[in-house]
């Protein structure tokens, strides 16, 4: 059976702890379902293996609005649930953008848009150079984030060298000028899947494809 929304328990409860808002449904978080599928079904990573050199890498490039990310990390035991209660406070390791130095399981600190893809290219190259051929690298970007030109340096190079890298674009139609011809046309030389960003089985299927070459999964969710 196809699940069409994130499980309300525990994520809904965890999200409410972050936002202090029990009214908003998890669907208010554009990245939530993709993040859940990644951590629940796809990534070879656990709280015990966050420092293993051959762990799968997930880089959240779209670092703003990390509530869903923090909720998933808490649900999977990477961080204590109590951390969710005072997000952004002086004593909290959780900021409005994640910092890899402060949070176990977070691979990169992001917030300024357009940095995750370049870091992911370097990560995938470094893993290959060290013979970690089973290790996969994923990076999540937003459709508006693609406005930043730095992404397109990484997209073109990854295609040219056929890097083993999977990019997930969360498309909530927030790019000011849109992407005429479709976002996937900005990824020449990549294989492409378009999925409903709330359909867990479809997301999982797309993320398990094309592990050895550049693959983009465009996960469409409702406009914010």
């Amino acid at each position: 059976m196809t699940a069409t929304s994130a499980p309300t328990n525990p994520l809904h409860t965890l999200l409410s702890r972050i936002t202090g808002d029990a009214k908003h449904a998890p669907s208010a978080h554009s990245t939530l379902d993709v993040l859940w599928v990644l951590y629940d079904r796809v990534l070879r990573i656990s709280p015990e293996t966050v420092d293993e050199p051959d762990r799968d890498r997930f880089l959240l490039s779209k670092g703003h609005g990390p509530a869903a990310y923090y909720a998933v990390l808490a649900a999977k035991g990477f961080i204590p649930e109590q951390w969710l209660d005072d997000l952004g406070s002086w004593d909290s390791p959780l900021g409005h953008h994640p910092d890899r130095v402060l949070i176990p399981g977070v691979e990169v600190g992001t917030g300024s848009l357009g940095h995750g893809l370049g870091l992911a290219v370097g990560t995938a190259l470094g893993l290959s150079a060290q013979g970690f051929d089973r290790t996969r690298t994923f990076v999540l970007v937003g459709d508006a984030e693609l406005d930043e030109g730095s992404n397109h340096e990484a997209i073109a190079y990854a295609a040219a060298v056929q890097l083993p890298l999977t990019v997930i674009v969360i498309d909530n139609q927030s790019s000011t000028h849109g992407w005429a011809g479709g976002i996937h046309t900005r990824f020449p030389g990549w294989s492409f899947d378009g999925v409903d960003g709330r359909d867990h089985d479809a997301i999982e299927t797309a993320l398990r494809k094309h592990e050895k070459t550049p693959h983009v999964v465009i996960a469409t969710v409702g406009q914010k």
Binding site: G118, A120, E153
Partner: protein, 276 residues
Amino acid sequence: MREAFVATTTAILDEDPRTALVIADISGDAFATALRDHPDRVFNVGIREQLMAGVGGGLALTGMRPFLHSYAPFLIDRAYEQIKLDLGHQDAGAVLVSIGASFDAAAEGYTHQSPGDVALLDTLGGWTVHVPGHRDEVPGLLRAAARHDDRVYVRLSAQENRRAYANGSVLKRGKTLVVAVGPMLDPVLEATEGLDVTVLYTNTPRPWSIDSDLKNREIVVVEPYLAGTSARETNGRSLHLGVGAAEVRRYGTWRDHAREHGLDPAGLRRSITEFL
């Protein structure tokens, strides 16, 4: 210096499988052997300097030791935010090696000049900056940088002294302290002939390691990049000579630009004598 950099880095890549090199077309021919011998960890990403820095950060996060290289304005000025975030904010390190310096490419114009590179890195934490004054100083600096994971910038130039010196060498002794950074040593020595000064050489201006006894003395700092870059490192009466911030819209050679900025022996002597 560029040849010493290419030869040493190629040897380091042969010897240490943890090292990697990322370039953005510049020096692609010079590194043809390394690109051929180590395709798994020597990368030419094309004319993409932001990516070059991001790739450096990603490589470092997997445990490798990346060297990045381009012309100074492309390596530092253009990719400043990537250097700030993809290296510093990630707590990742790399060895950045530039050529071109302040005005080696005088005839290419301002687009190819980076007098502000060291000042830009000074806005960030944790950078060691080497400004070798002679090609023979380059191999040792690079080999030392390959052995750890910190952030290192090596600023190479076409301008060099007649011979190599050890960091911290004292070339002459007198009253006022004159610190010469990298290739400024020979012009400083010529400019201070017969003057009552101590001349101290450094090829590692960051971290600033001139000891505090000397620091509190009357001091002249002569740097081959933006004048005053090291002003905050001195306490007492001081004179800071270097490249002016105003763009010089002339071509010529680095010697012409050095003269225009008062960094030739005659200009330095004028400024230092007036200060004394």
